[in-house]
């Protein structure tokens, strides 16, 4: 069933159509949220909130853009709101990630180095300016084409290209110093 048909069913009160729509998009939403929050548990909570919000806001979806674009907009905005609300908890969580990862085949020293490097990369991504971070995550985690990213962010393709280039340069700068 197409998105339009599912939306029509949802608006006429069919909750199973909403479940079908959610199952179609939940992985994309979840992956995008992971790009922002870097944790499975938080990503699940935010994904749940996003779909509840989508259900409640269906009447405001006018169909002017594609459903997926509208959904990505909600996803990005709610992920950023979540990060802003939980800044303090996230710092504690990232410290926990460094010291409490299960040991694999690597030596504890190698493991600590890897965790430290991951932590630095996550911190660098999180410290990018908001628009650069949005473009970077939609491009890298979701592999969306620049045209789609431009419509999610309400901007031009050229602007997205610039944002991605700047994000890349900023990450290089932050991680090599």
């Amino acid at each position: 069933m197409s998105d339009e048909q599912l939306i029509h069913e949802i608006l006429s009160g069919d909750n199973s159509a909403f479940k079908a729509l959610m199952e179609k998009y939940q992985l994309q939403v979840f992956r995008t949220v992971v790009g922002f929050v870097h944790s499975k548990e938080d990503a699940e909570d935010v994904t749940q909130d996003i779909f509840v919000k989508v259900y409640q806001s269906f009447t405001s979806f006018k169909g002017e853009s594609e459903f997926s674009t509208w959904l990505y907009r909600i996803t990005v905005n709610m992920s950023i709101n979540f990060i802003n609300r939980n800044r303090k908890n996230r710092l504690l969580q990232s410290l926990e990630d460094i010291f409490h990862k299960p040991s694999g085949e690597k030596t504890p020293m190698e493991h600590l180095e890897d965790s430290e490097r991951d932590h630095r990369i996550r911190k660098a991504i999180d410290s990018l300016p908001e628009k650069q971070r949005m473009a970077f995550i939609l491009s890298k985690y979701e592999e969306l084409p620049q045209k789609t990213i431009a419509s999610v962010m309400n901007t031009s393709e050229g602007a997205v290209e610039q944002l991605l280039q700047r994000a890349k340069n900023n990450l290089q700068k932050k991680l090599t110093t």
């Binding site: 909750n15 909403f18 479940k19 959610m22 199952e23 939940q26 992985l27 979840f30 992956r31 992971v34 790009g35 870097h38 499975k40 990503a43 699940e44 994904t47 749940q48 779909f51 509840v52 259900y55 490097r117 991951d118 990369i121 996550r122 890298k140 985690y141 990450l171 290089q172 991680l175 090599t176």
Partner: protein
């Protein structure tokens, strides 16, 4: 160095992309939606609460008004007469007089 940094970033993103949500996530979301719908049904509309509050206030006001409208017509003389020692001959009960 630049190449290696890019590899590290791509490696982290690849690992994070491999995370999968709980298979019951959609069931969880549907349960949350149904719960919120039930709460909405149970919620008392605002106008009903306002009407109820206004009725209670009107009844209280009416009670106070009726209470204040009561006028005590008893005169002081009549109050004096309540003492029945004046209207009843207590000497009648004096056992010694009629023995």
């Amino acid at each position: 160095m630049k190449m290696k940094t890019e590899q590290y970033i791509d490696n982290l993103i690849r690992r994070e992309k491999q995370m999968e949500p709980n298979p019951f996530l959609s069931t969880r979301v549907m349960a949350t939606i149904e719960k919120s719908q039930q709460q909405e049904v149970r919620k008392v509309p605002v106008w009903q609460a306002v009407v109820l509050a206004a009725s209670i206030a009107a009844v209280a006001f009416l009670g106070v008004t009726i209470g204040n409208s009561y006028v005590d017509n008893a005169s002081p003389e009549m109050v004096m007469n309540i003492n029945d020692s004046q209207i009843e001959n207590l000497g009648y009960y004096n056992f010694a007089d009629y023995e």
